[in-house]
């Protein structure tokens, strides 16, 4: 075996990263031992099957990845801040923008959203858990191990460097001979399988486990958006699974699916990638629409305007999202007919999206709007996302796209869509639901500071990129000459990126500060919420609802408070809960090693790991574990304690 493959070419930055990763790991291990937290970590977190804890772990992982992806972004903006910068070399820059894209989409935005839905969906539909709690843990550990596998690529063997879309033949062994793109195919595969399982789990949860009386058209909008998202996941992710498997065969076993000769087709990859990749955009954006709908209704004290058209528009968007993938390669010479078809389907998405924007504006109308931190992010989303939307229509016009394609204009557009559409949404949702999970609010003053830094800096960072695109600056250029005139706007953009970084640091500082100093809420409903999750005590007991609620109206909790429609009528009885299990975690770890061994073509250990996975799967399917009961007395005692004698 060739040990050189593990080495990453020497650069102070990478050595710095290696040292900091090593120090952080040692620090965590020593800390856990010193405070005797190993048992706690294992019992409470690594083996948990509680949807709320799994959700919290998703969100923590996503926040970590936000900073990893953010550092990548800073390095890119710094490298292009001035002509002929010498901060990164071409190879390093290529790895940085590739991992930035992968991490932000797959290991930040999506897990953050999956984390929020893990925490909130069962609560919102009045359920005690997800349909398959152990499978849920498997999903999380597969995602987490996939993310870790991609992250170690930076220091062991080299990161993927062919762009997050990994177009062939560039991503083939011939043009990318390092192991970087092996990591791509395996890390994405492992976490992708986890996501697919999540999709199945949540579709079943939402369809089968709603509280009595909650018909589909009485579901909260966030639940609707998550249902539709998971349907997209179930249709889109198998395509990614197949594409990545073919890629792995091409790179590891010498097959010729995407090669330039022997019948391989490079455009087959582009098609498969975007048949998954375009719906993926909606996987991260539709739940955001749901989050915003909840927040707008709560803080304008109104029910959502045009509920039915909101649902229909999301269904239409999900359908159209599968009919637009070829707009990612208008310039491949597919002719006027094909380009026109995809132009029209792509522009058509603007119609249902516009419906939502106007419905939100009319929800605000005649309301009583309070400007809390989550509401500020939501309100900022509307004008900024609209810019992203209208530039999307501009890009959808095939002819015009011949000029925008692959330029900074495109980069500006999708950041104007994804940052307000996904990042602001998860931050808003995070601030909004934080008191539900932890029993205290985040500090509003710090929250608003972070907000203004982020909103203003966001525009300073990304608005200049529209102009750079029209000036002819292509994306993914690690350097440019003075004569191009790209310098000043890039410098402005870098200044904005610094501001964004400051905003995110304040946001994290707020979490720390609030954990230490914010008063614990005496109420479980700090925002005067409308949906069922606010009907549970905070922090939420393991069984969520002592009594399963009966739903009669759309904003069930609001009606209960406003019109005294009773939610909880039954008596408290014993509650069944699943046991914790370490098997999903162990399965995830073996998957990590399988991925690692395959990346380096170490066949014998890979086969051993493969057998280990089969054994674990068998062990899990023959498991006879019927869970346990919490007795009625225990539930009553817990409820009394949490609610201060009100039950």
């Amino acid at each position: 075996m060739d040990l050189d493959k593990f080495k990453v070419h020497g650069e102070p930055l990478i050595y710095g990263a290696m040292i900091s990763i090593a120090l952080a790991t040692i620090g965590i291990l020593v800390g856990l031992t010193y405070f005797k937290k190993w048992g706690y970590l294992w019992r409470e977190w690594l083996t948990t099957v509680d949807h709320k804890k799994i959700g919290v772990m998703y969100i923590l992982a996503a926040l970590l990845m936000l900073f990893r992806g953010g550092v990548d972004a800073m390095m890119m903006r710094l490298q292009t801040a001035a002509p002929e910068m010498k901060f990164l070399d071409a190879q390093h820059y290529n790895e940085v923008f590739t991992t930035h894209g992968l991490i932000m989409i797959l290991f930040m935005a999506m897990p953050f959203i999956i984390g929020l839905m893990n925490v909130i969906i069962p609560l919102q539909i009045g359920a005690r858990d997800v349909a398959f709690p152990r499978l849920n843990a498997v999903s999380f550990w597969l995602f987490f191990m996939g993310a870790m596998l991609l992250n170690i690529s930076f220091v062991i063997g080299g990161s993927p460097d062919a762009g997050w879309s990994a177009y062939f033949p560039l991503a083939s062994l011939e043009f990318s001979p390092t192991v970087g793109n092996n990591y791509y195919s395996l890390a994405l595969q492992i976490s992708g399988i986890g996501t697919l399982i999540t999709g199945v789990n949540f579709i079943v949860t939402i369809l089968k486990m709603r509280a009595p009386g909650m018909t589909l058209m009485k579901m909260p909008m966030f639940t609707w958006s998550v249902l539709i998202t998971n349907i997209i996941i179930v249709f889109a992710f198998p395509v990614l699974t197949v594409a990545l498997a073919l890629m792995m065969f091409d790179r590891l076993f010498g097959s010729q699916f995407f090669t330039m000769a022997n019948g391989g087709m490079d455009m087959l990859w582009a098609n498969l990638f975007w048949v998954w990749g375009h719906p993926e955009v909606y996987i991260v954006i539709l739940p955001a629409f749901g989050i915003y709908s909840e927040i707008i209704a709560t803080f304008s004290k109104k029910n959502l305007y045009g509920y039915t058209s909101m649902v229909v528009s999301m269904l239409l968007i999900s359908l159209l999202s599968f009919l637009v993938w070829a707009h990612h390669f208008y310039t491949m010479g597919q002719g006027v007919m094909v380009n026109s078809f995809f132009s029209i389907t792509t522009m058509a998405i603007a119609v249902p999206t516009g419906v939502k924007i106007f419905n939100w504006l009319f929800t605000l109308r005649k309301g009583r709007i309070t400007f809390t931190t989550p509401m500020l992010y939501t309100l900022a989303f509307i004008p900024i996302f609209t810019i992203g939307g209208v530039t999307g229509v501009m890009l959808a016009m095939a002819s015009a796209d011949y000029q925008y394609h692959n330029t900074m204009f495109l980069v500006a557009h999708f950041h104007y869509v994804l940052i307000p559409g996904a990042v602001f949404a998860v931050i808003a949702g995070f601030h909004y639901w934080f008191p539900k999970v932890f029993g205290f609010r985040l500090n509003e003053r710090l929250g608003k500071h972070a907000f203004w830094w982020i909103i203003i800096s966001f525009n300073v960072t990304f608005f200049p990129l529209f102009f750079l695109g029209l000036m002819g600056m292509t994306r993914r250029m690690y350097t440019y000459s003075e004569e191009t005139g790209f310098g000043p706007l890039n410098m402005l953009s870098f200044a904005g990126a610094v501001g964004l970084a400051i905003g995110f640091v304040i946001l994290v500082y707020n979490i720390y500060w609030s954990t230490r100093y914010m008063p614990r809420d005496t109420t479980s409903d700090p925002w005067d919420g409308r949906t069922l999750e606010w009907a549970t005590p905070s922090p939420i007991p393991a069984y969520n609802f002592a009594i399963v609620p009966k739903v009669q109206t759309r904003d069930a909790f609001w009606s209960a408070k406003q019109d005294n429609i009773p939610l909880f009528e039954d008596k408290i009885t014993k509650i069944h809960l699943p046991n914790n299990t370490g098997k999903p975690f162990i399965l995830g770890v073996i998957f990590f090693f399988l991925g690692f061994f395959l990346v380096f073509s170490m066949w014998i250990p890979a086969i051993v790991a493969g057998i280990g996975i089969i054994i674990m799967l068998a062990a899990m399917s023959f498991d006879r574990d019927h869970g346990f009961y919490v007795s009625a007395e225990e539930v009553i005692a817990t409820e009394k304690k949490l609610r201060g004698e009100t039950v």
């Binding site: 071409a90 033949p169 029910n303 058509a348 229509v393 095939a398 002819s399 000036m471």
Partner: protein, 338 residues
Amino acid sequence: MKKKGPLYALFLSLILLLPGCSSLTVLNPKGPAARTLSDTIILSILVMIGVLAVVYILYIFVLVKYRAKKSNEGYIPEHEEGNKVLEAIWIIIPIIIVTFLSVVTVKSTHAVENVAKEYKDQKPLVIYASSSNWKWHFSYPEEGIETVNYVNFPIHRAVEFRLYSFGTITSFWIPQLAGQKYAMSDMLTKLNLSADTAGSFIGKNSNFSGKGFAHMEFEALVMSDKEYAEWVKEVKDTAPKLTEDEFKGLLAAEHLGRKTYSSTHLEFSPPPGDHSEHMSGDGTEMDIDNGNMDHQDNKDIHPSPEPSSQTEFDSEPNPEVNEPLPSSPVEEHTHEGH
């Protein structure tokens, strides 16, 4: 609203920049194809500013009017289901806008995918542009000359670039003359352009293609007919022939400066087949226009429909390479028709 400040300043600057801005390369076209695209872009920007204006006015109005203040304390808004008429309005108007833009798109796409109408009656000058590693090869089959990393062609002349690649997917782009198009190893794509201003224009690869990508630029020099004829003659008289060995050396090199040759690589390394007829009904129309002639000389130069079996990438011995490819009926069809 505080956060509107920077946004409005930026929008204002956008509007001010639009008319006379020469640094916005894309909006400063020097030929009919790029002009069509520039007009399309400006039209779409204006329509979209209209849409933004509606949303922003409504947004500011609602936020100012319905914010929580002392005077409306204790006010609990009424339940409001929605309004069919209003919702119909914001479904129908966007549909009208999208329909309008669709018509514009189809027309302009058709316009730039074909020879510009001013130059319809000319037989276009065919130039093969192929990429390898991080450089561009330009072959002039009619003149029998080839250049590397620069291309010259006459003003007021329809030029048809035929694009392909000896490696990764690249995208051929001269922003002031035409929109970009991909160059791929297994398929020939066509790009029509013409210039109505003489001068030097920057051209580049705009699709990420590996570590030398940022430097993959070339100069497109538009000259008068006379200058062009002189240049061709001079090349033929003075430049060396492009031998197969020399060409292999060029392909293997990562970056190169300018090179000039008095023969092309097309003779010994033919380009891939043209699949464009099968991508849409439109290709046939192009064929009727500039005709069998083209296909005829296409055939003379590239007698074999097989993928080039002599490029460096195919040098590995492979038993199947010389057999007809059963997996690509597309190619068989292309050549059956003629």
